[in-house]
Assembly symmetry: C2
């Protein structure tokens, strides 16, 4: 998989993050991608699920972006063929979900504004790619500056 | 906190597990308890949320019992005062959620039929109590015998 593909998927995740921010929520987005679909030229079909943080919008404390993407992906047995893409380094809940379902690759927008459970994913054999995407950083910096309390709640602080 | 309290809470979690089995789902149940409410004599108010595995019932792959209990607890800032009770040793997703929200104590029905991410919770300072409850073991043994495929899907196998 090439870095241009990662950037393409990250753009889709960032669109989700922007959507959440526009709704008054936490600007973190995620997509689940099937590189197999990509490989056979089905670009449109390569994103199997999208999600954005819905904790503020729905009052569900488990509704981090990655969790919503997994939820939207529904019951399936092909997790080992998927890539989880998130604008932000996944927290312990979202990392634990990737480990549970043996998702082999996680593409991360950035880990400058928050360092998630990357070590734990790596120890469980997950391949990580951190893009240090300036768009993703800008979204989180605005959140932490303008709505610090909301962010603290998101990460149990 | 005494072991008789743990058993009382576990009974509530087992009731949730039985409810799920009766619905055709995975027989795992969970409750979130506020020992502070218990301490001031408010036994009825001590269980702040209940949940059972709803993956089969709703098609949501994140709907493990503990996740549903956390979801039902809603947005709150008192996670550090709560106890998470589950009939089964929590998987990496549910363990990661306890770590995210800094839930300090996890009471586990049993870890004979499935060993979850207990090490990871312990490394993150969570106090674990494994009851080895024969009721919880019986529920899981029946699942693994009668619906092995459903169980494999639940743990990403």
């Amino acid at each position: 998989m090439s870095s241009s593909l990662y950037n393409l998927w990250m753009t889709a995740a960032i669109d989700q993050a922007k959507k959440s921010w526009d709704e008054g929520g936490i600007p973190i987005g995620s997509v689940l991608v099937s590189p197999k679909a990509e490989a056979i030229g089905n670009i449109g079909g390569s994103i199997v699920a999208r999600g954005h943080n819905e904790r503020v919008q729905t009052g569900d404390p488990t509704a981090h972006a990655e969790m919503v993407a997994v939820r939207n992906a529904g019951r399936r047995r092909d997790w080992k063929d998927l890539v989880l893409v998130s604008t932000l380094s996944p927290c312990s809940m979202c990392a634990g979900t990737a480990i549970l379902y043996k998702i082999p690759v996680v593409v991360i927008g950035e880990n400058r504004t928050f360092q998630g459970a990357e070590d734990w994913m790596a120890r469980n054999g997950i391949e990580l790619h951190v893009l240090t995407d300036t768009r993703a950083i800008a979204l989180m910096e605005r959140l932490q500056k303008e709505r610090a309390e909301l962010w603290a709640e998101d990460i149990g602080e």
